[in-house]
């Protein structure tokens, strides 16, 4: 998986690309390293993710928890394909805000 990040004020948009699986734990730590008390709102654009597994979902939950601890808001945006199916199957929007 790859990512890029754009920051504006206290908000950062992280765009994830590729496949998000159990092997990507170091990357998620790197992504979350960009957030702190000053930049504590996160939109994760998952429109370019091709595939996500249960471990990837677990890491999204970790990201949500991290942002919540910083007092910020966490949103997933633009899910599609297999990723959207995965979020629906797991009722992910019960836990995390998902925007189409």
């Amino acid at each position: 998986m790859d990512y890029d990040i754009q920051t504006a004020g206290n908000m950062a948009t992280v765009t994830l690309k590729g496949r998000f699986t159990f092997a990507d734990n170091k990357l998620i730590r790197e992504v979350l390293g960009h957030f702190n008390s000053t930049v504590n709102n996160c939109t994760m654009d998952i429109g370019q993710l091709e595939f996500i597994d249960s471990a990837g979902l677990g890491m999204l939950i970790l990201a949500n928890d991290t942002i919540a601890e910083l007092g910020g808001k966490y949103v997933l945006s633009h899910p599609n394909g297999q990723v959207k199916k995965m979020l629906e199957l797991t009722r992910f929007s019960d836990i995390i805000t998902v925007e189409e």
Partner: protein
């Protein structure tokens, strides 16, 4: 890719496997001399020193299955050959290969090429097979228990332990195998690891629909698992 044919017409093709080794394997399996041959759609691909490109090449053509040749473990065993003889698609990889490369993606693409599968079916099978392979490698072959990974530190510790065990040849060389049979109405996918078996204790994971086992239960028409040395068997309606 080099190919050899045994006297019973099974074609073995090698990627990273020398012709002599292919002939030796064919002789061990079928008790007869082998000769050079063209690749056919029912060839069994033998692959060694797996990397992303080589794995992609292996799956690029029609095949009956793929067997990873590992040091000191180069001959497909009886169950694998039995499933192959019964017309199943058969795949056998080391834990390291199944951990590092998108094996479920490759296998599912091969199924789509062979059967008339809708995109929706393809997605279901890939997702369930991926989760089954990951569970089989991590919890079965690497013997890593179900540890809570609810912080970045615990997640990192878990993954470091997984990679440490993958560096240990004893764990890394353990196999994970997939056998797939198709009928007019369903596709049956069996996943066999070398771990101790597990129970589908649905109550334990009830409030976590994103856990791998719950995903498998949600995606497959039926699932059977649990006993040691028995496969996880998933059935999907076509």
């Amino acid at each position: 890719m080099q190919c050899v044919k045994s006297e019973n017409s099974v074609v073995l093709c090698g990627l990273g496997v020398p012709v002599k080794a292919l002939c030796d394997i064919a002789s061990s399996l079928y008790g007869a001399a082998a000769s050079l041959a063209e690749q056919t759609s029912n060839a069994l691909i033998l692959i060694a020193n797996v990397d992303g490109e080589r794995l992609k090449e292996a799956f690029d053509k029609p095949m009956a299955g793929c067997f990873e040749v590992i040091e000191n473990d180069s001959i497909p065993h009886a169950l694998f050959i039995k499933e192959l003889s019964n017309g199943a698609f058969v795949f056998s990889f080391s834990s390291r290969t199944a951990y590092c490369f998108p094996v479920a993606d490759h296998i599912t693409n091969r199924l789509v090429a062979s059967f008339d599968l809708s995109d929706e079916r393809r997605e279901c099978i890939e997702m369930a097979l991926h989760e089954a392979l990951v569970n089989g490698v991590i919890h079965g072959n690497l013997e890593l228990g179900h540890i809570k990974k609810d912080t970045l530190d615990s997640l990192e510790a878990f993954n470091e332990e997984a990679e440490k065990r993958l560096s240990n040849q004893t764990y890394a060389a353990r196999r994970i195998e997939v056998y797939i049979q198709s009928s007019a109405t369903s596709i049956e996918v069996k996943v066999v690891d070398q771990g101790g078996g597990f129970s589908i204790d649905h109550d334990k994971w009830e409030n976590m629909p994103w856990r791998g086992i719950n995903l498998i239960l949600g995606l497959a028409t039926s699932v059977h698992a649990g006993e040691v040395d028995q496969p996880l068997t998933m059935k999907f309606d076509r």
